[in-house]
């Protein structure tokens, strides 16, 4: 390595670190704040060094049942992802391999549903949920999250499926495979990284979804977003408690992201180089 190359490499490494630090700083600050006392958390000149305390975590755990919220989040985000995949795989398959004149338009139309603010359909959905007894149930929230994520899931799968050589599927068809077999035995195994990263993204989106989970659930089906919402307050100090609650709320998804980051990156760059 020549000195110039070395310098360039060092520079890029430093730049990479700087960007990473900048991006993760809010997260880091939140975790740090969760170990502060309420008074230290609100201090005008923030302390970088302080006596760490688990007080906020204790209060948070005492005031609400974290495990119940976490379990609801897990069920809803995984369930909604699987439900979305169940519908998205056949539709993306159809659009990728048997496109018509209107496929492009259909895809755009689907995406356009994401452009409408959720609050616009709040009352109709609320009434439907009330009449079908789905208010404050995980099933209800799971369905809404699945439907909400469906356009993105279909779009992503569509782009991944487009990368699969048509000839492979045609060869399968020559050997007598029907559409179901074609999807199941050929398409899914070939685009597995794409499906995994799509699922991860859908899970994260459902995990973070706050609007519907706050309005459609009360006590029984409330996920972690509702858990966080109970720790900010217009009266009294709450920064440390809120940070502790947020840290607890993102921990599971952070671990999931960490464990699967290889697949995630592989999936996201799948077909990027052509």
């Amino acid at each position: 390595m020549t000195p110039i190359e070395l310098r360039r490499k060092t520079l890029f490494t430093l730049l990479g670190w700087a960007v990473a630090l900048l991006l993760s700083f809010p997260l880091l600050w939140m975790v740090l704040t969760s170990f502060k006392s309420e008074a230290a958390a609100i201090a005008r000149v923030p302390h970088l060094f302080f006596h760490p305390t688990l007080e906020s975590f204790r209060v948070v755990q005492e005031q609400s049942n974290y495990l119940r919220f976490a379990w609801n989040s897990i069920v809803v985000s995984l369930g909604s992802t699987l439900l979305a995949l169940l519908f998205a795989i056949p539709s993306a398959y159809t659009m990728a391999f048997s496109p018509t004149r209107r496929t492009r338009g259909t895809l755009l139309w689907m995406l356009s549903t994401k452009m409408m603010p959720s609050v616009g359909v709040l009352v109709p959905i609320y009434l439907i949920f009330r009449d079908t007894g789905l208010l404050d149930t995980r099933t209800g929230l799971l369905v809404v999250d699945a439907v909400g994520n469906l356009p993105i899931v279909i779009w992503m799968l569509y782009t991944f499926f487009k990368e699969v050589p048509r000839e492979v599927l045609e060869a399968g068809r020559m050997d007598g495979a029907g559409p179901v077999r074609e999807i199941y035995n050929l398409l899914l195994p070939l685009s597995l990284p794409g499906i995994v990263s799509t699922s991860l993204l859908a899970t994260i989106l459902a995990w973070n979804e706050a609007f519907w989970s706050l309005t459609l659930t009360a006590a029984k089906a409330a996920p972690l977003t509702a858990f966080i919402a109970s720790f900010s307050s217009p009266q009294g100090l709450f920064y440390a408690k809120l940070s502790a609650a947020s840290t607890m709320a993102i921990a599971p998804i952070l671990v999931l992201g960490w464990v699967s980051q290889r697949q995630l990156v592989r999936g996201l760059t799948f077909g990027a180089v052509k």
């Binding site: 609100i42 005031q63 609400s64 069920v75 809803v76 995984l78 369930g79 699987l82 439900l83 995949l85 169940l86 709040l122 009352v123 609320y126 009434l127 949920f129 009330r130 007894g133 208010l135 404050d136 149930t137 995980r138 099933t139 209800g140 799971l142 199941y184 035995n185 899914l188 195994p189 070939l190 597995l192 499906i195 706050l214 309005t215 009360a218 006590a219 029984k220 089906a221 409330a222 509702a226 919402a229 109970s230 720790f231 900010s232 307050s233 217009p234 009266q235 009294g236 100090l237």
Partner: protein
């Protein structure tokens, strides 16, 4: 290919099993014990105590279980409003304030409570202004859990050092003089702290009382907005002037919490805000100035009418509740004298929910434990939500106008006055735009047309 196929089959199987499990679990949890009440409440200190003590209630009433939904105020308001308006029936007990109780009661979203209470509840023990604020057309729609008004807080040590004496009833010219004399930015000491953060429950709560006491009102008898009238101009100019000259830097981002922190850290000589702050200011664990806090009634301008605000949190039963009787039993317990005694016993006298019952203020022990109690009581009793202003008005509410569109209007006007505070607008411009904004919202919402 064989391995890939195997893997895909495995994934698909795993997926289908997990999905059916999720749907199943989603369904299973809907089964419940005979009576489980879902209680929606705000996450402040008094409510946290209630949640903790509710175990006692569950022991006393083995047939009733409580499920808690504890949320930040604004989120709670959105959720409970949606549910009450659509008769969703998600909640059996909701926590609401003086803005919701009469409006929701009028619309039939809440159950009237008078006939559901047992005689032992002693309805007449509730303070009249609070009871009025929770009623519509003579019917009570919420049982007050705790209530607050406003006070002037000041630093006794600074007053003594400067040879100043706080009068028994300060006026705004007194406040301006004290703030000028005690303002010392070089020492990080500011003459006066006030709410500056925009919002109908933040800066507008204070400014509305200031307008009231200078003889102003939000609407005249014909529902015409009065924001460009002389009292509004006087009040808004004085507010902006006081905070610009003697307020801490960045006043426009200070709400209740920020001001409380400033005062507790010894940065403010004077502060006019909620009575509920007193408990914290006197607590030496939280406050650096606990030993030197003085308090006086909220200052007056040209009339004492409407200078103290009035706020309460009350418990109500939505009309769609499936367990109204059990819910009534619970809210009766949570707002009863027995509950207040229970809090006194378990958390100390100074922690009892204030401002709702006369009997609380008749306990010499309570008055001794909470030095601010007598003044809080006077402030609450002086507030009159039915006749809040000097001139007659078609609405009720002291620092609020009890109508559904008030939060929208209050927030917009609050933002314009915050803009005047930071100097982006003059007071006249801000009030002119506020008047126009109010008229616009009123037209859209039909304010005045059906009154």
């Amino acid at each position: 290919m064989g391995r890939l196929k195997q893997r895909a089959t495995g994934w698909l199987r795993f997926g289908l099993i997990t999905l059916s499990m999720c749907l199943f679990l989603g369904k299973v949890t809907e089964s419940q014990t005979p009576v489980t009440l879902t209680v929606a409440t705000v996450n402040n200190g008094d409510m946290t105590i209630m949640q903790r003590l509710s175990k006692v209630f569950e022991q006393q009433h083995p047939g009733i279980r409580l499920d808690w939904v504890v949320l930040e105020e604004n989120i709670l308001r959105e959720k409970t409003t949606t549910d009450a308006a659509t008769h969703g029936g998600q909640y059996d007990v909701v926590t609401i304030g003086p803005l919701e109780a009469p409006v929701w009661g009028q619309r039939g979203w809440l159950l009237p409570l008078d006939s559901r209470l047992s005689p032992a509840y002693e309805l007449n023990d509730l303070l009249k202004p609070i009871r009025d604020g929770a009623s519509f057309d003579g019917k009570l729609y919420a049982l007050p859990f705790y209530a607050e008004s406003s006070l002037t807080y000041y630093r006794k040590d600074l007053f003594a050092r400067a040879g100043l004496v706080m009068p028994a009833q300060p006026t705004y010219s007194d406040i301006a003089r004290f703030a000028r004399l005690l303002n010392d930015p070089a020492q990080n000491m500011y003459g006066l702290c006030l709410r500056g953060k925009p919002g109908w429950g933040e800066n507008m709560a204070f400014i509305s009382t200031m307008v009231n006491t200078f003889g102003g009102r939000w609407y005249d008898e014909d529902w015409r907005p009065q924001l460009t009238s002389k009292p509004w101009h006087t009040a808004a100019s004085l507010y902006v002037d006081l905070l610009r000259r003697y307020g801490p830097p960045g006043s426009s981002s200070n709400g209740f919490n920020e001001s409380l922190t400033l005062f507790e850290n010894g940065r403010c000589a004077l502060w006019i805000d909620a009575t509920v702050a007193a408990g914290s200011l006197f607590d030496s664990k939280e406050s650096n100035v606990a030993g030197s806090v003085g308090f006086a009634p909220a200052p007056i301008g040209t009339t004492p009418r409407g200078t103290q605000w009035l706020w309460f949190w009350g418990l109500a039963i939505p009309a769609a509740s499936k367990h109204a009787d059990a819910a009534a039993t619970f809210i009766e317990w949570a707002t009863s004298k027995q509950y207040i005694d229970l809090v006194a016993k378990t958390s100390g006298l100074a922690s009892v929910p204030p401002g709702t019952r006369r009997s609380t203020y008749e306990q010499p022990k309570y008055l001794a434990a909470a030095p601010f109690a007598a003044l809080t009581y006077q402030a609450i009793m002086a507030a009159d939500p039915l006749h809040p202003t000097q001139e007659p008005v078609p609405y009720t509410g002291v620092q609020i106008v009890v109508m559904p569109s008030f939060p929208t209007i209050g927030n917009q006007v609050g933002q314009l006055l915050a803009a005047a505070l930071v100097g982006d607008l003059t007071v006249d411009e801000a009030l002119g735009q506020a008047q126009a904004a109010t008229e616009r919202v009123d037209r859209r919402m039909g304010v005045g047309s059906n009154k």
